[in-house]
């Protein structure tokens, strides 16, 4: 008869709903940001007591706010408390995405098994179908290898409680918002309430957050984590903030989160505040030091060359800092498959916003160096710079034929100095002028340019 007695489980308090221990360090509790690929970049999820800053310097898109919306929706759906710091928290929350199908949110104590949802594999497939119309012939020894993965999958049932599958085509039903408000899980903090002193708005918000977190901690019976969502820190409702005000706010917010370790925060700033024009040299680095996790979503919206080059993505992702609340090394270095630090160097990351979700992926150049590009001439940027010279040559057409050779040479020089400083225009489809060869002046050989149009048959298609 063995005297073996199973040791009783250690007397650790149960984890709040929607969280789990970090794989790298059991002392850290992590919670999902709502986007599985972002969770992977962060090393499993955002640790409690840490702050996540999303910078989106592109003024024509709102991807940073989208990340904060995912964060809020995830918090509401897994039973956590969500505190929204915004002048219109209602409209912010009503724009958040939600789980498709059954619209009733689960109560915090029950499982999520009642929810029906379309598997992400389905919409993954209809995105992939368009790309795989031609079956590529691969060598026989590689046929057994699995397909090249650019992002992480999130369909396993065990992770369902940790990260819900959100659908961008659905919005949170009003009934859900009202229910969470009644339960006390949706708290609003409006920075411009009681328009008193604009200079101390940040301090007022911090004081209010401190009260909310202290009362949440004092309530020992409920074991609920709190998420603070700040979709537009420093927007016009906050008044005219200086860079030092924003630094002070982020610094104090992080200190506040450390004091109340069952809370975490996701912050996003308006585009004009994410740039060095506002904060001075090294602004992005400063923000990276002042927050635990900071990423930049650099969208391609304003840059047609990048959009053409990386047509399957909507922007680049730059990771500045990663959370490591209890360790020297951030757990993401070891556990992130997207960043890929365990293999050779770090992967380049990009994001794309599909119809139903936002994905972060690794960025690789396509097989032929681009979807519709064959590099027979220098790259697009240098073509644009030379367009100024082209105009000089075009204007010289008329004069070169009538004037004697020596005078033409002088005129060419004059034309070039006048035209070249002007703004370069789109690369013009121009045949090389034939009468250039008879002038005595040695000119730069005009490079042949072809306009790349993908639907017309390619000139070099043999």
């Amino acid at each position: 008869m063995s005297a073996f007695k199973r040791r009783t489980t250690s007397k650790q308090p149960p984890l709040p709903s929607g969280t789990r221990p970090s794989p790298g360090s059991p002392a850290t509790t992590i919670t999902s940001s709502g986007i599985p690929s972002l969770d992977d970049i962060l090393g499993g999820g955002l640790p409690l007591s840490c702050s996540l800053l999303t910078l989106a310097p592109d003024a024509h898109s709102a991807y940073g706010e989208l990340v904060v919306k995912y964060f809020a929706a995830q918090g509401l759906s897994c039973g956590q408390r969500v505190c929204v710091v915004d002048s219109r928290p209602d409209s912010f929350l009503s724009e958040c995405m939600w789980i498709p199908g059954n619209n009733v949110p689960p109560a915090p104590s029950t499982n999520a098994s009642g929810l029906s949802h379309t598997t992400p594999a389905e919409d993954e497939e209809d995105e992939r179908a368009s790309e795989h119309d031609t079956k590529i012939k691969i060598a026989w020894r590689y046929e057994q290898m699995k397909q090249f993965q650019t992002t992480v999958q999130s369909t396993s049932q065990s992770t369902e409680d940790f990260c819900r599958t959100f659908d961008l085509t659905y919005r949170i039903p009003d009934a859900t918002i009202a229910a969470t408000r009644a339960e006390g899980r949706f708290i609003e903090v409006k920075p411009d309430e009681n328009n008193s002193d604009v200079s101390s708005l940040c301090r007022k918000v911090l004081r209010r957050l401190s009260e909310i977190l202290s009362s949440a901690d004092a309530d020992a019976s409920s074991n609920v984590a709190t998420r603070i969502c700040i979709p537009a820190l420093g927007s016009y409702e906050w008044g005219d903030l200086l860079p030092s005000d924003i630094c002070c706010f982020l610094h104090s917010l992080r200190a506040l989160l450390r004091r109340h370790p069952r809370a975490c925060a996701a912050v996003c700033m308006p585009p004009h505040l994410c740039q060095e024009a506002f904060g001075g040299a090294g602004w992005v680095q400063k923000l990276g030091w002042l927050t635990d996790a900071s990423i930049t979503l650099a969208a391609f919206t304003a840059n047609p060359y990048l959009t053409a080059m990386f047509s399957s993505h909507h922007g680049l992702v730059h990771v500045h800092s990663l959370p490591a609340p209890h360790t020297l090394l951030p757990p993401s270095d070891k556990f992130s498959t997207l960043r890929g630090l365990t293999s050779s160097g770090e992967n380049n990351l990009a994001f794309k916003c599909m119809r139903k979700r936002l994905i972060f992926e690794t960025l690789h150049l396509d097989v032929e160096g681009g979807v519709s590009e064959r590099r027979t001439t220098p790259s697009a940027n240098s073509i644009a710079a030379e367009a100024g010279d082209e105009h000089a040559h075009d204007n010289d057409h008329g004069s070169a034929g009538t004037q004697p050779g020596s005078v033409a040479a002088v005129q060419v020089q004059l034309e070039q100095t006048q035209i070249a400083p002007s703004a370069p225009e789109q690369p013009v489809k121009s045949a090389p002028p034939a009468e250039k060869t008879d002038t005595a002046v040695k000119k730069v050989k005009i490079k042949k340019k072809v306009g790349f149009i993908s639907d017309k048959p390619d000139l070099y298609d043999f």
Binding site: R259, A281, K286, W289, T327, L328
Partner: protein, 241 residues
């Protein structure tokens, strides 16, 4: 053998600069744990501006130093700098760092012939949150003077956000320091096997180097692991790779 075990020397000031891609936390933890392991009674003082003490404790635990016990016994003092600075800032005080200095002086106010280590982590955040550069520079200067008087070794940490263009505060801090250790990332970006490189320079406050210096061209590479850091010469990788 890097880092030189003699550093930081008593009565001298060591300035550590780092960048976002290569933070110097590991150096501070290493200095603290070496100091505590060296002798059982050498006091230390941690003035923390940005990070809380819980992280120090958990990382120290990985190198078998129970920081919590030392803090409780009073051997290691911890000052939360923002607790002294924020009230002064809110009252629009003229000298927001004065209260912090008095707190530090109070902690060091004991007759001690033992080697004391003072770590200020970090100076750059004080400037970023709005305290004027002049004020921060004066605070650093008076802190250096205090440590030299008490024959304590001082370690200052500064974040460089514009590599290659030293800013005003960095120049002032450099003038005060005996040694300058700078931690930079590799120019080829992050890698799994090498986390960054460290160089050691002589600061303007000392005349002759008492430890071997390491120039930037021959910088020592380091690699961070769960339990600490290991150093290896550039291109060798013995015991690491």
């Amino acid at each position: 053998m890097f880092p030189p075990s003699a550093l930081p020397l008593p009565g001298q000031v060591l300035l550590i600069t780092d960048e976002l891609l290569a933070p110097a936390d590991f150096l501070l933890h290493r200095f603290l744990s070496d100091h505590l392991k060296e002798s059982k009674h050498s006091p230390a003082l941690l003035v923390s501006v940005s990070e809380d003490v819980g992280r120090w404790k958990s990382i120290a635990g990985r190198s078998n130093v129970s920081l919590a016990a030392h803090v409780d016994s009073g051997l290691v003092g911890v000052i939360d700098a923002m607790a002294h600075v924020v009230p002064a800032l809110e009252n629009d005080g003229q000298r927001p760092l004065r209260a912090l200095f008095y707190a530090v002086r109070h902690k060091l106010d004991y007759p001690s012939d033992k080697k004391t280590l003072v770590i200020l982590d970090d100076v750059a955040s004080l400037e970023w949150i709005g305290i004027p550069v002049e004020e921060v520079a004066r605070f650093a200067r008076v802190l250096c003077a205090l440590c030299r008087q008490r024959n304590a070794s001082l370690v200052l940490r500064y974040h460089v956000v514009t590599p290659g263009e030293p800013d005003e505060l960095f120049k002032r801090l450099l003038q005060l320091s005996n040694y300058h250790m700078d931690v930079c990332p590799l120019s080829s970006g992050r890698s799994g096997s090498v986390s960054g490189q460290v160089a050691l320079h002589l600061g303007p406050a000392s005349a002759e180097p008492e430890c071997p210096l390491v120039s930037r061209n021959a910088a020592v590479h380091y690699r961070l692991t769960d339990s600490g850091s290991m150093f290896f010469d550039r291109g060798t990788g013995n015991s690491v790779l």
